[in-house]
């Protein structure tokens, strides 16, 4: 039986344009598909991934154009709805950045920093990305 894994994601937008996704969300999605049991906590700048309606234009260099630029909100929704990976966002990190809860995609779960230790004990592995 797969170990339960909690994944705290803090590094945000690191290579999303070049990879057309977040490499850690991608990795967890692939591992979930391979039988893993994963949960995500977005903290720090990564809470931005949960803001609905975001997206950067694709990169253009001369005649070369990127056609599949990433949409992180879409990928978070995909985690929740299609991959059945719960996604938490740290409330204090949202507040520090002036992000209101009604700006977030549906399905994400706000969690306070003080509640994190209680969440940790539910998992076999806690990873900080």
């Amino acid at each position: 039986m797969a170990k339960k894994s909690l994944n705290i994601i803090e590094s945000a937008y690191r290579a999303v344009m070049e990879e057309q996704d977040d490499t850690i969300l991608w990795l967890l999605t692939a591992m979930q598909g391979a039988g893993g049991v994963h949960t995500v906590v977005l903290r720090g700048n990564a809470v931005n991934y949960a803001i609905a309606g975001q997206g950067a234009p694709g990169l253009t260099v001369g005649e070369w154009k990127q056609t599949q630029a990433p949409r992180m909100d879409r990928d978070v929704v995909d985690l929740i709805e299609n991959r059945k990976i719960p996604v938490y966002v740290v409330e204090e990190d949202l507040a520090e950045r002036g992000i209101a809860s009604n700006e977030l995609v549906s399905g994400v779960k706000p969690i306070s920093r003080r509640a994190l230790p209680e969440l940790f004990v539910e998992y076999d592995i806690v990873s900080h990305w």
Binding site: R14, E18, L59, V61, W64, T67, Q68
Partner: protein, 137 residues
Amino acid sequence: MMSRKTLTFALMDAPYESAKLTTAFRILDAAARRGHDINVFAYEGAAALAFTRQSPHPNPVHGKNLAEENHPTTKDQVAALLAEATKNGGKVDWVNCGMCVDERGVGEFVPGTRRGSPADFQAFLDASDNTLVIPTK
């Protein structure tokens, strides 16, 4: 009319690991569109940017085949930068740090880029109107 300048950029990040290269390519593209002469010193991981054996891939997690994913490669971006500069009357002197290339086994470059050394970067610094270093961290 804006005068033509010589601009030098030092890049250090490896492809597919950083947002900084996307920003760098946006700036390089803007400079090429304005016809400026561009020097690039591709140092450390950035020596792989012009490696011609990079391959796009399908993405099963995205549910997309090779064509649908249309995965970007930095070698294509480098080639497009060279073409854009030429089209607008500028030129790009893209130097791949030779020792960095050897360490990484990425010695097959996009045509129009070349192998070089820190001496090339020094020459770029001395001859340029301005230099922007985009370091890795």
